[in-house]
């Protein structure tokens, strides 16, 4: 059994929606092993994205604690969380969220602006990340000049360029056709198996979940484990 990378203990998350309080996660306990690839499935509003946001330090729990590696996220300030995210977490979104004014290369370099690397070093690392996702020849292209699959590959390169331990993917294939989605999922599998990245992937797509080692089903604020078939 691999070492535990992330632990959620008694985590609850409640949002205020108008006058009503909505509990999205309820007293959740979860351990995520380093190097694992987990798919999180469930209906809309079941708390999948909230779970990702808590693990990525974008949100704080109403109750309970979130620990990733040696960091207790619940007790960190906003600026500490920003710094922590820049080195520990890679985010991949459904709609890629690339900056349209920057080339693929410059988009990938963005997280490295927060480091002390020189311009040349940043460019070199971005080129390596683009090479890993198979887009070395598209470095100078702007997002509008790329297909959806290529944009998502650039987003993946941006997520891995600072070599984070944990990749958080929020429906990474939700906007792609089946063939392209499979290519992206295979790439995630490679990142997990060959580069040792721990991946938590939220998805609605059962076929996508099959690429993961485990699937967790999220419903009414609780999680239930199901083995991948």
């Amino acid at each position: 059994m691999s070492e535990v990378l992330a632990t959620l203990s008694g985590v609850s998350k409640t949002y205020q929606k108008g006058k009503e309080k909505v509990e999205v996660l309820h007293n959740l306990d979860l351990e995520i092993a380093g190097g694992d690839f987990i798919a999180v499935m469930g209906p809309s509003g079941s708390g999948k994205t909230t779970l990702l946001n808590l693990l990525g330090g974008l949100d704080t729990p109403t109750a309970g604690t979130v620990r990733v590696g040696d960091s207790e996220l619940s007790s960190m300030s906003n600026s500490q969380l920003s710094r922590w995210r820049s080195t520990n977490i890679g985010f991949i979104f459904q709609f890629y969220n690339l900056l349209p004014v920057l080339t693929a290369q410059k988009n990938v370099e963005l997280p490295l602006l927060l480091t002390d690397f020189s311009g040349a070093e940043r460019a070199k690392r971005a080129a390596i990340a683009l090479d890993i996702v198979g887009l070395a020849d598209r470095a100078k292209h702007y997002p509008r000049e790329l297909s959806g699959g290529q944009e998502q590959r650039v987003a993946i390169a941006r997520a891995i360029v600072s070599d984070p331990t944990l990749l958080l993917c929020d429906e990474p294939t939700g906007d792609l056709d089946r063939e392209t989605a499979d290519e992206i999922l295979k790439l995630l599998q490679i990142l997990n198996r060959e580069h040792g990245k721990t991946i938590i992937m939220v998805t609605h797509d059962a076929q996508a979940a099959e690429y993961a080692n485990h699937t967790l089903h999220c419903d009414k604020g609780t999680l239930e484990a199901r083995e991948a078939t």
Binding site: N53, G56, L58, D59, N78, S79, S82, R83, W84, R85, S86, T87, F91, F93, F95, N97, L99, V101, L102, K106, L110, P111, L113, L114, G119, R158
Partner: protein, 385 residues
């Protein structure tokens, strides 16, 4: 500096909108340059005034002459180091539109009183020896192509000669410069003795006296002592510092400084609205991008800095361009209008003020959009996207 590429790309996100904003900034600072330079000219050399030089004029009006006999009495007043005098001639060269200042004076006294004026000693000596000699400033020499050795006619508009003629002829014996970049050389000096001998009226008078106080003497006390001497005489005097004299001279044309300030105030207020609107739109359009930056680890302050830098960069680009073009136009205006309005000058102080205004306006225009970006909730912004 490492964020510069990101800031630059964001500034040019909407090229037409940015170009139009730049154009408004450009025009505002072009106006600033031109109006500052003209305002400077109307200040009448207030900034180049020497604190130890005093001007003595007739108490009633600058145009009333003072008796020449006052010279020795002023010179013997305690605290007075040296005295010179000059008068307004008011002629033109060749055609009425070629007007510039001409002043009859004493060569050595005048150049000793104004050490910032530079001319070779041999030219000064030659002028002092020639009663019909005159010297011109570099600006006049260049504008009218006047050289040492030329004999030039000046048509008098006030001072007819004893023989009824209005044409005064002068031998150019020297060309003077100034080592103060703010000072003007757009005038001509000639010998008072020639003026005194040839003019038809007002003999025995001068326009005004200039005096230098002894080192350590109190200029106010010296002024009071001089004015007291001539109190209750037919020609009472008013003695003031050179700066105060320049100010009162400029006020004859109205409060130019206030007019310039009001125009520029209106221009910059409009500019703030235009650029503030540009920045607000720019931030509104990319809420999700700013949220992504924060997700990647950009701190609240980094995001604030990026947006503020964009606003300041727009101001600096348009402003420096406007100031640069303004500077070129001011040089041209100084040459073309130097004779009528000497001292048109874009001072280093004005340039520094303009740059400070650019940065300040950039901050003011960008601060609210930048704060909005800084306070952005990542969760809400990503959910909206």
């Amino acid at each position: 500096m490492k964020y510069f590429g990101l800031v630059w790309k964001n500034v040019w996100r909407k090229k037409i909108r940015t170009s139009l904003t730049l154009l408004s900034v450009f025009v505002a600072f072009l106006l600033f340059a031109l109006l500052s330079a003209i305002g400077y000219a109307f200040k009448g050399g207030e900034d180049v005034a020497d604190a130890e030089r005093l001007i003595v004029i007739d108490k009633v009006s600058l145009i009333n002459p003072l008796p020449q006999a006052y010279r020795n009495r002023i010179a013997s007043t305690p605290g007075v180091h040296s005295v010179a005098h000059a008068s307004w001639f008011g002629g033109f060269y060749q055609e009425p539109r070629n007007q510039f200042g001409q002043f009859p004076t004493n060569p050595y006294e005048y150049f000793s009183m104004y050490p910032e004026l530079k001319m070779p000693q041999e030219q000064l000596d030659a002028w002092a020896k020639n009663r019909q000699g005159a010297v011109v400033g570099r600006e006049i020499a260049d504008q009218f192509n006047i050289k040492v050795g030329d004999r030039i006619p000046i048509q008098a508009t006030i001072w007819t000669k004893s023989d009824g003629s209005r044409t005064w002829e002068f031998d150019i014996e020297g060309i003077f410069e100034t080592d103060d970049p703010r000072g003007s050389t757009a005038f001509m000096l000639f010998q008072h003795d020639y003026f005194e001998e040839a003019r038809a009226f007002a003999k025995g008078t001068v326009g005004w006296y200039v005096l230098r106080v002894e080192p350590g003497a109190d200029p106010v006390e010296v002024s009071n002592a001089i004015d007291l001497q001539f109190a209750n005489s037919p020609n009472e005097t008013e003695t003031s510092t050179e700066a105060a004299f320049a100010q009162s001279f400029a006020k004859q044309f109205g409060n130019i400084a206030l007019i310039v300030t009001l125009i520029l105030g209106a221009v910059f207020f409009t500019l703030l609205l235009v650029s503030g609107n540009t920045m607000s739109q720019s931030v509104r359009e990319r809420i999700s991008e700013l949220a992504v930056l924060k997700t990647l680890g950009f701190s609240d302050r980094s995001v604030l800095g990026v947006v503020l830098s964009e606003s300041i960069l727009i101001m600096l680009m348009g402003g420096l361009l406007g100031l640069g073009v303004g500077w070129v136009l001011v040089q041209g205006a100084a040459q073309a209008m130097g004779a009528f309005l000497p001292g048109i000058y874009l001072s280093p102080q004005s340039i520094l003020i303009a740059i400070a205004v650019m940065i300040g306006a950039g901050i003011v225009a960008g601060v609210f959009p930048a704060l909005k970006a800084m306070r952005l909730s990542i969760i809400d912004a990503l959910a909206r996207a």
